[in-house]
Structures are given as C-alpha cells and as structure tokens.
C-alpha cells in the first residue's frame, strides 16, 4: 500500500474546525492517456522500476479571504504499473481530519487495451483513526490492476486557513516523469518561493498572471526513485522540494505578518491558538510547585536541576511531533500529570521562570525527519521544545521529554542541529554535540581456561555518552535491568551462561557500568580446543555497506560517531597452549581507525588482546566518503572474524 501524501512532517496551522463532507467517487474527466504513456513499458533511466509516476500535479489555491473560506489543494496522480511488484501501488491511504478535509476522491484503472474501470464507492474505505481528534484515513483498492495498467486518482484537501507550510516533494521511491505544483497567489498575500534541489536536478519555475490570480508553477521531470538504502538520510533530505512561504497577509487593510521572519513566527505562536501566552497565563499552581521544588536547593543550578527532574520524571510524556500546544495550560498539564513533548517544554519554561532562571524556549528539529532550513521561518520544521538556561556563564540545554537524559544533555537526534532560540529577538543557534570519543563503549573481559577446557571469567563494560543514553533507565528497577542485561550478554556470549550481573547507572554523568560473571556451558565445552571471539562483547562487527561505492546512491548517516574499546585477557593451564592468535590491526582512514594487538606472556600463560575502533564522524557524503566508511567496516569485519584459539597439548 502506498501513502502518497503527506510525506513527512505535517504542517497545517489549525485555526478553525469544520465537519467533513461525504466523499464521492463520481466519474470524472481525468484527461486522455497519451500515446507516450500507453507505450511506456520501462523507465529509460531506471529500467528495473516496477512502476512509474507518469505525473503528479498539484494546484494550491490559497484562501482569498473574505471571498474564500478555505484554501484548496487538489492533487492528481497517474501511475503506470510496469511489473508485478508495481501492483503494490494499487492501494492508497490518505490521512485527513476535520481540519484538513478530504474531498472528491475519484479514481480509475485504465487497462492496457484502453478499457476504463472506475474506482467504485465500495472499494473506498474511511477509517476513523480517532473520534476525539476527528482524524481519519481513507483507503482505496484500485480494480482490475495488471501489469501495463495505469491507475489514476485525484482528490482535494480543504482547510480554513491561509497558510500552507508543507513543501511539495517532487521525488518518490519510484521514478517520476513529471511532478509539478501550481500556486495561485491571492492579491492580499505575500509569498516567497523557496526551493531545494537534490542530486543535481533542476527545479523549473515560471510565473504567469491568470484570471485566478498570479500562478507560480514549479516542476521537475524525469526523476529517479529515491532508493531505500541502509543507514541513509531521511526522505525529506533526499527529495527535491519547493514551497511558497506565506510572509504576510492583509485583511481589511491591516497587514499581518505570518512567517516573514522568525520574530513574526514566534509572535504567532505566542498569541494564536497555539497560544504559548495562554498556556503560561494559567500557571498559579505550576509556579507554586516550582518554588516548592527549588526551596530545598542551595545553588541556582541545583534549583534548575530539581525543577527539570520533576518535569522530566513526574509528568508523563506523550508523543507529539510539533511545537504547538493545543488549547491547554500549565496548571492543567501539571494536574493531569501528563503532556506531550511541546507541552512539557513549555511547562518547564514556565516553572523555571517562576524561580527566576530566565529560561528561553528552543525550537529543535529531529534530524531523523530531515534537516531544517532556517532561512525559512517555518515552525513546522521542529519537533521539540527544549529549554535553555544560562548557568555560570554557559548555555545549558534541557529536554524534559526524555527520561534517559540527564541535566544538560540532548539526544543524538538533536545534537549538532540548528535550532531557534524563541523569543522577542529569536536567534539561530547550533545545539552542542558530544565528541565522538565520549560516546564510548569500553569492555574488559578476563577469562581463564581450566584443565577440563571450560572457559569462565568475568567482564565489565562502561558505556558513556550516547551509548549510555541508549540504556539509561532502560528498565523499571534494578532487578529488571540486571535481567535484561543478562539476556543481552548471553546473546553476545553464545554458548555461555552469564550470571551475577550488576548494573550501575549514573544519569547526570551519562554512564552505565555493567559487571558480570561468565562460564561456558557444559554442552559447549569441546575439551581439547577453545575458540574465542576476542572482540566480544562489542564485536564481531559485520559489514553494513556491502554495496560497492559506484552502486550506492544515497549518503550515509549514523545516529552518532563513537569509540569502542575492548580488552580480553585469557589465562590457561600448563596442559594447554596458544594455537591461533588474531593479527595486529593498524588502520587509519578518513572515516576512523582500527587498532588491535595481542601481548602474550608465555611465562605466565596469559595473553591480553586489545582493540579500539573509532568512527569519527556520523555523516558521509559522496562516493569517496562512502568508500571510506565501507573500507573501515571491511577492515573491522575481517579482523573481528578471526578467532583466538587455544588447544590442549
């Protein structure tokens, strides 16, 4: 099934609600199928594509108040099925709501011989995602689809607002012959075009005066499909896109700034139904609570930390993907004991304000949804409200919506990104990053082989930085945490029983320490041979980038750069000897480094293996850099596949 629109972030400014009108599936004039479209049997620039978007055309009529009461976006799509797998595109799902209303969905299948089979009402299904939120998904299954068929559909969205802040994405995961959008600009609105072309493509733009108003058309042709490659960037970064940014609108001679500057955007969020000011206004209990929390603390830092810990831990977090707050206030959130991420950020800001910490709200975007372009004052770029305070001359960023984050810490999805310091004079800032060597995993394993050939010993692992973040407050209590780590370690040490696991977590220091005992299971003792994987428990690493550089199409993105260090010490009895040792590794490349070696103390029948792997940057653009990370993984995989073997004499 294909969800064709929208593709990533939802970006509709909600001002009014309306009832949804019933859908219709009337026959409609879709326009003729051209000879070229009929003849299409494969895409010249991507011959193995199972389907192709022949065209996707959109027309956006901005609301021209008071003449219009709604803005309308009409989308018309035509797709040809080129192979069996292309039939996956024969079902569609369109999310909509009482605010973003879906109208006039119509469709048809055109067979290879030209026969038209309409999409009937009984093949269109409306699913209510939430009665309370008045949200829906309308699904349709196209009839009679075969290889060589064309499916075609169109629909409209209506919403009662002037703004539309979602970019038009030209690309799909399959090739596209033509993708275009035409905006009709009302006379009372100032719009500014913005475009982002990727992969060397060119976005064509033309402007024309029409009876409907000024028409701005943007289009691209003959696009390849965006492949879904491992550890790639999000679709929003890989697709070319275009948008018209509503800078201001005039009503009855009054000019109202919209998303002209970050200043106007911030003001809109202070005043409108996304009402930060209203949120903070009802905050008597909130402020009282803040003062109560801070009363026991000595320093300002401790006060801030106490309030932060409360919001983070005592107010349950619900998922949300934007920075607006919906018709609620601080005291309501406090009383309910729960809020979404945006509400929690604002709650924290309100509470810190009550203890004179001078907090500033920060709008931050999650890199998993794409990079933000802060030349466009679009609050819908962002997913989270952080809070910034200055302590001891330093800016400290607080994220109260993640229980695994200590004071002043950010998750890797926000670190290093550009953000907006919200306020009367908004500021573009860069959020701090953790250096790669602080995202550390350090393991030390001490093993011994006994006379019977059984391997046993102990291990200790320290996680720091984002590696610790991944496991801080992993489970609810110490017992569950130890159990979970035991299971995890037994997954690494195949053939071994892990016991006596202890875990120490230090949230604010971003550190997790795990210790354990390990003993080879009786069934796995060979008696005359013991093979060990010396990179355990951090390895063995497998190659993640099998594709040769010339075939990889998209850049690589890790969650974060990091360092792994492992040391394994083994001792053996006199009746045993070393048979095979791993080779030394000393590789340094643009992507990082691998060093490994073994020191053998024959006299004491003991050896120590040590290995360090650094991946120094999380992003790799272009073939050369892809080759670099691939080469590093080749080295590591080859090295880690080696065994350390001892045998009975």
């Amino acid at each position: 099934m294909t969800q064709f629109w929208p593709k990533t972030r939802s970006s509709f400014l909600v001002l009014l609600f309306a009832l949804a009108m019933p859908l219709t599936a009337m026959a409609a004039d879709f326009g003729p199928i051209t000879a070229e479209e009929r003849a299409f049997t494969s895409v010249p620039w991507q011959p193995d594509a199972p389907a192709v978007v022949l065209f996707e055309k959109a027309v956006l009529d901005f609301m021209d108040y008071p003449k219009d009461v709604s803005s309308i976006l009409e989308i018309h799509t035509r797709i040809k099925i080129l192979a069996e797998a292309g039939k996956n595109y024969a079902e569609i799902a369109i999310p909509h709501s009482a605010v973003l209303r879906l109208k006039e969905l119509e469709g048809r299948t055109i067979l290879a011989d030209g026969t038209v089979v309409p999409l009937l009402e009984d093949a269109i299904f409306r699913e209510r995602s939430s009665r309370a939120k008045k949200s829906f998904v309308t699904k349709a299954a196209f009839p009679a689809v075969e290889v060589g068929s064309i499916i075609e559909y169109r629909y409209k969205f209506r919403w009662d607002d002037v703004a539309y802040l979602e970019p038009w994405y030209f690309h799909h995961h399959i090739p596209t012959v033509l993708s275009e959008i035409t905006y009709y600009k009302p006379g009372n609105m100032a719009l500014e075009p913005r475009s982002w072309a990727t992969g060397g493509g060119k976005i064509e733009v033309e402007t024309q005066k029409t009876t409907r108003g000024l028409a701005i058309r943007a289009w691209m042709q003959n696009l390849g499909g965006i492949p879904e490659e491992p550890l790639s960037f999000p679709f929003a970064d890989l697709s070319s896109r275009f948008m018209m940014v509503p800078r201001e609108v005039a009503f009855s001679g009054t000019r109202i700034p919209l998303f002209d500057t970050w200043k106007s955007a911030c003001e809109l969020f202070e005043e409108g139904e996304t009402g930060y000011r209203d949120f903070r206004r009802a905050s008597r209990q909130t402020k009282k609570k803040a003062q109560e929390l801070a009363s026991g603390a000595a320093s300002q830092r401790d006060k801030v930390a106490a309030v932060y810990a409360f919001v983070r831990d005592e107010i349950r977090t619900f998922s949300s993907q934007w920075v607006g707050v919906w018709g609620t206030d601080a005291d309501e959130i406090l009383k309910a004991g729960e809020g979404n991420r945006a509400q929690k950020g604002l709650l924290l800001q309100t509470m810190l304000d009550a203890i004179k910490a001078k907090p500033a709200l920060v709008w931050a975007g999650d890199r998993r949804f794409g990079r933000v372009d802060l030349e466009v004052a679009n609050p819908w770029w962002f997913e989270r409200n952080l809070v910034m305070v200055e302590l001891d001359g330093e800016r400290v960023f607080l994220d109260p919506s993640d229980r695994s984050l200590g004071f002043g810490q950010l998750s890797p999805y926000f670190e290093g990104t550009q953000a907006i310091l919200h306020g009367k004079k908004p500021e573009i800032i860069q959020l701090p990053s953790t250096p790669f060597d602080q995202n550390l995993r350090r393991a030390k394993v001490e093993l011994a082989i006994d006379e019977a050939g059984q391997v046993h010993g102990q291990g200790r692992m320290t996680l720091g930085g984002h590696h610790a973040w991944q496991f801080l407050r992993w489970k609810d209590d110490a017992e569950a945490t130890a159990e979970a780590w035991q299971e995890r370690l037994e997954g690494f040490f195949e053939g071994y029983a892990v016991s006596a696991v202890t875990v120490n977590e230090a949230l604010d220091e971003r550190r997790v320490e795990v210790q354990w005992q390990v003993a080879q299971r009786a069934a796995d003792v060979l008696g005359d041979e013991a093979s060990l994987v010396p990179s355990l428990p951090l390895g063995p690493v497998e190659q993640l980038f099998s594709l040769p550089p010339e075939r990889r199409l998209t850049p690589v993105q890790f969650s974060f750069a990091d360092r792994d260090e492992v040391e394994m010490t083994i001792s053996w009895p006199d009746s045993w000897e070393v048979d095979v040792l791993p080779t030394v590794a000393d590789y340094v490349g643009p992507a990082g480094a691998l060093t490994a070696g073994v020191e053998v103390d024959e006299a004491n029948r003991q050896l120590t293996y040590s290995r360090r792997l650094d991946i120094t940057t999380p992003e790799f653009f272009g073939r050369q850099h892809y080759a670099a990370i691939r080469d590093l993984y080749t080295e590591v995989e080859g090295h880690d596949a080696q065994s350390l073997v001892l045998v009975r004499r």
Binding site: M1, E91, S129, S130, A132, A141, P143, A523, L547, T583
Partner: protein
C-alpha cells in the same frame, strides 16, 4: 479470513499494553452468560496496580476491542490514586479508534480507548465493562496467559445449555476449575506473568487457554456444516467465471495442468487485498465480483479458484486452516479456530508425485501464495490440522510436512594460496520459503538493492570473508528457488603456522541451553540446511583426517563428513528437521541434534601430518603442523 487469535484476544477483555510487564492484576474477573438465543453477555472486571514508572505510560491508554458483532453496553472506569482519591473517567477520557488488523486494508474492528489521568506508581486502575456479543459461531476462547502477574483470576461461564462443552488447553498448574451444568468456573491465584521465550509457539497453540462452545454439533463436521451454510448465500457459478475457466484451460486435457493454469491465474492476476467487515471476515465475496475487481483475500481467492476448477470438472473444497509457522489449532476441540482458507483437491482427481502437499487423500493448494506451483505449499500451511468442507459436513485432515523442499545450501569452493588466503567462489542455494522473499525482492527492487542484500547475506553466513561480484538466478515454476554466486576471498584462512582453520556453516537448531529446564514446547523451522566447503590446499600441505559423524532420531538428522582427495578437503554438514513442534518429552532428541550441529560448527578443522613429514619451522613455510 478474520484471524481466530484476534477473536480470542477480543474475548480476553485484556489487551496488554506493550512492555507493561511490571503492573499487577490484583483482580481479573470475567463472567459470561450465554443466552438461549446464542448471544453472550460478557462482563469483565479488572483491577490493575501500577508498580513502576513505565507502567504509567504503558497503562495510560486501555483499549477495548469492538466490532460489528461486539458492542459495549456498559462501562465504568476509574483511577484510585495512592492517597485513596478516586477519579472517574468521563466522556472526554474516552475515544474510539478504528485500526485495521495486520494484513488488512480495512476491517470493521475498532477500539474503545480509555485514557487514564493523574497516574502514579501505586495507583490502581478499576475497569468494569460489559460487551454484547453475537458470535458468528457458537464458540469462543479466553487466553489465560498474561504479560503481568495476576493475583486473583476468576472466569465463569454459564448458560451453555445443550451441547455445552469446554476444554482447558495448555499448562494447567495453578488453575482450578469447577464444572456446572452448562458452564464452568476457572480460578487461580498468584498466576505468574507469562515468560517470553525464544523458539516458543505463538498465537493459537500458545497456552494456557480456556475454550468453550455450545450448540447442537460438537464436531468438526459441525464446523464444516456451519461454513458450508455460510457459503450458501454467496452467488456462485457466474458466467464470467465459467467462461474464464474454459478460456484458461482451452486445449489442456490433463487435470493437473488445468489445475496449475487456474491456480496460476488466481495467484498472479488477483492480488491480495483483505477487506473484512463483520461477517465478511468469514464469508467470501462472490467470485464474479472478485474476478471483476481482481483483488480479494484468502477466502475470496479460494472460492474463485474452486468455482474455476468445478467448471473444468475438478472437484475442490474450501479448507479451513490456521496458517502460522509457530501456531496450531487444538484438534481435540472442534470450534472455529482458523485464520485462513485454502483449497483441497481430492488426490485422485489430479496426478501428483512424491514430495508434494498431498495427505489424507487431498492435494492442498494455497491461492494466496504468489510463488511456485501446486507442488509447493508454504511452511505456514504445513503440518496443520485442517477442516475440508464439503456438502454435508467436513473432514478433519492434516497437511503434510515437506522439509525437503525448504532448503538452504551454502557451497564454498576455494583454493588456498601460499600466503594462506582462500580464493574462489561461494554459492547460496535457497528453495521454498527461504527463497520466496528473495524472489519478491528480485521482482520489485532495483538490482543494486538486491545485490547489496545478497552480499550482506553472504557476509552474514561467512563472517570475515570478502564477497564481491554477486549474481543470481531464480526459478518459481514449481518450488521457488534462488541461486546466488559470488567471488570470495577468505583472508588469512590458513595463516603461516596455523594448524587448523575455521569453517563457518549454517545452523538450524536452537542452542542446547534453550532446552534447559524448559516446559514450553519448542517450534523449529522445518527444512534442510547444508554447508559444503571444498578447499584445495597448496601442494605438500598437511591434511585433516577423514571422518564422519551421523546423528539420527525422530526429530531429524545431522551429518558431517570430512573427505580428502588429491590435496582437496571437502567438509560437508547437513541438518534436516522433520518435526516442527517439539514437546518437552522430545527435548533430549532435539538436544542430541543441536549438540552435534553446534559443536561441529564451533570446532576447527585440524591439520595432521605424519611425524616424518613435519617440515622445519620457518616463516617461509605457510602451514605448520601438529607434532
């Protein structure tokens, strides 16, 4: 076809929130009154104590499953805070959400969702609701395995009347029951949380479960008659369907070939789309409609195939089945436990060969498969009790096990250089279910993506080996197969001074530790795995000793051979699993196979020389020996 497990879960009155392992059911009471008209009043009362911080998130939303035949008639819910204050849920704390089940485009299921506020550790959720259920079939089941511990459990069913029957399936320790006329009451205290275990059954067959039914016919015949009656209302034998059948088989006289032609059409030309609204979850769409729109679910495709076959003189029957590699029905309790519909053709009606899905007098075909011919039945349909529906009743049968067709084979053919690197070719041959996803990928993904995944597959099977230049071929004329070949370099396979080398191989048995102190059955994937390494050593090299290991028992076989011939060593390992559902009493046999497979895989191949052949130890000598 509506998933039977879904129906069971719906009767559960508890849909466990993910990760909600720390909370405790202080009370879990279900009272079911079966009325004379066959409807049920289903009353659930629960008290859940929140024991940890994650419970506050996990239990913030509680869904009650509803459907066209399941409606909510009363509801009271509240939070009792640790200080004793009670907050009753109002309208604004409730929502209705429709969400199609996995595999469905759209269905009539929906959730009435309760949102609990002001939760704190130590708080209790009190939920009391009644459902009015009009079951499509006079039976139901209640899962008694929970993700959380239950302090007091009480399930009481009354009003079963004539034909009342029930059965407790699964581990019964800790449960008591008292049978009454037309009912049963099951109680338990301190029921521990169900343990999540690897290799364990899932869904149907993962107990314990209380099944119950009522009505006249407590037999699989009765189930068959129910379904047969349901089909009566479906218009059949349309002109378009009959015409198509004749068109597709024009000039084809052999019944088997006719079957293959019609099956291929239904599989390839009618895409799978599941829309299940109310009884539409069981009753197929008329074949004429399915043909016109060219989409349908398992029952739509099956009935279309049956009508096509009937037109060309081949008898065929709808067959109820629970499809799931890790699941099975309780064949001792005739009821509607199925989630899928396939087709059974009397074996004498069409020709067939050995290793085909023929058992109990029927050839079974699944029209929802997109790969292979009638020769291959996907593993989810194998080794399952099925109900073949025919006029006047039904036959309980069991589909066969075809492990020989489910194959994974790795072949490595290399020559070792004087420097100790092994260079050559690697091959991966897959057939049956292992091949099916690859065929789908080859058909739908760009070549680059398939190449990358193929290289990754080799890399995963042969860690540390550099694999390049992969190519593949595929065939799905009978059993889906994929053959991949790649160039291989195994660096430092036999380093200077080494007296042994590692030979990675495929494994299909669980680690022996999985069976230790285990009471839950183990479900293993049926099939055959083979690994062959052919290694040409440099002239003058020491060679390993020839050896052979054979293990065979009722579960399957394991074999390893090491043969030496003219400087080449061939290591061959083969595991065949013939039984997928392994009860604890057969664990010793599974362990025997697992030990053999895992130990040989871990053990390195040792080189041995005659004493007079020991070369001088030097850096120039690539291979040293055991003295």
């Amino acid at each position: 076809m509506r998933k039977a497990w879904f129906w069971c879960v719906a009767s559960l009155a508890l849909v466990a929130a993910p990760g909600a392992e720390a909370a405790t059911h202080l009370k879990y009471h279900v009272d079911i009154q079966i009325r004379p008209d066959g409807t049920m009043d289903h009353h659930t009362r629960m008290v859940i104590r929140l024991d940890s911080a994650s419970d506050l998130e996990d239990w913030a939303r509680f869904p009650i499953y509803l459907d066209d035949h399941r409606s909510l008639t009363s509801l009271e819910a509240s939070v009792v805070k640790p200080d004793g204050k009670q907050i009753t849920l109002g309208r604004k704390d409730q929502d209705t959400m429709e969400s199609s089940g996995s595999g469905s485009l759209y269905d009539s299921g929906r959730y009435h969702v309760l949102s609990f506020r002001e939760l704190a550790v130590g708080a209790r959720l009190v939920i009391d609701y009644r459902l009015e259920i009009e079951p499509y079939y006079p039976a139901d089941a209640i899962q008694l395995a929970f993700d959380q511990p239950v302090e007091h459990l009480h399930v009481a069913i009354q009003g079963g009347g004539a034909g009342w029957r029930w059965r407790f399936d699964g581990p019964a320790e800790g449960f008591d029951w008292v049978e009454t006329a037309g009912g049963v009451t099951v109680t338990a205290s301190q029921v521990p949380a169900a343990e999540s275990m690897s290799w364990a059954p899932r869904g149907s067959g993962a107990g314990p479960v209380l099944r119950f039914a009522w009505g006249d016919d407590a037999s699989w015949n009765g189930v068959g008659r129910w379904y047969s009656d349901l089909l009566q209302s479906v218009p059949r034998n349309s002109t378009s369907v009959r015409g198509l059948a004749r068109e597709l088989t024009a000039g084809v006289e052999d019944p088997r070939q006719r079957l293959e032609a019609l099956l291929a059409y239904v599989r390839k030309k009618v895409r799978y789309v599941a829309v299940e609204v109310g009884i539409g979850g069981f009753r197929p769409t008329p074949p004429e409609e399915v043909l016109a729109r060219k989409w349908g679910d398992c029952k739509d495709k099956s009935l279309l195939l049956i009508d096509l076959l009937l037109e060309v003189g081949i008898e065929a029957h709808p067959t109820l089945i629970y499809a799931g590699r890790k699941s099975r029905i309780d064949e001792q309790f005739p009821s509607l436990q199925f989630n899928h519909l396939i087709v059974a053709v009397p074996a004498e009606a069409v020709s067939h060969e050995a290793n085909e899905p023929v058992s109990d007098g029927f050839l079974f075909v699944d029209p929802t498969q997109t790969r292979g011919s009638a020769r291959w039945l996907q593993p989810a349909d194998q080794d399952q009790h099925v109900v073949v529906v025919h006029s006047g009743g039904a036959t309980l049968a069991r589909t066969t096990i075809l492990q020989q067709l489910e194959r994974r084979s790795v072949m490595v053919d290399v020559a070792v250089t004087p420097q100790g690197d092994a260079v050559g070719k690697a091959g991966l041959q897959l057939s049956g279910q292992p091949a099916a996803p690859w065929l789908a990928q080859i058909e739908s993904e760009p070549v680059e993506r398939t190449a990358e995944d193929a290289l990754a597959a080799f890399g995963s099977l042969l860690p540390g080996v550099v694999v390049e230049e992969v190519g593949w071929s595929s065939d799905e004329s009978a059993v889906p197969t994929v053959d991949m070949v790649a160039d291989l370099t195994y660096r430092r396979m036999l380093r200077s001074g080494a007296r042994s080398f590692k030979v990675p191989s495929l494994q299909s048995t669980p680690e022996p530790a999985v069976m230790v102190e285990r009471q839950v059955p183990i479900v293993v994937p049926l099939g055959l795995t083979e690994t062959t390494w052919r290694i040409r050593l440099p002239e003058g090299s020491c060679l390993p000793r020839e050896q052979r290991l054979d293990v065979e028992n009722t579960i399957g076989t394991f074999q390893q051979t090491v043969t030496v011939e003219e400087g080449s060593v061939t290591i061959y390992r083969r595991t065949e699993l013939r039984q997928r559902w392994i009860e604890p009493e057969l664990f010793p046999e599974l362990e025997e196979l697992a030990l053999a497979e895992h130990r040989t895989s871990r053990r390195r191949v040792r080189l041995e020389c005659e004493p007079e052949e020991v070369p001088s130890s030097s850096e120039e000598t690539p291979l040293s020996v055991l003295g």
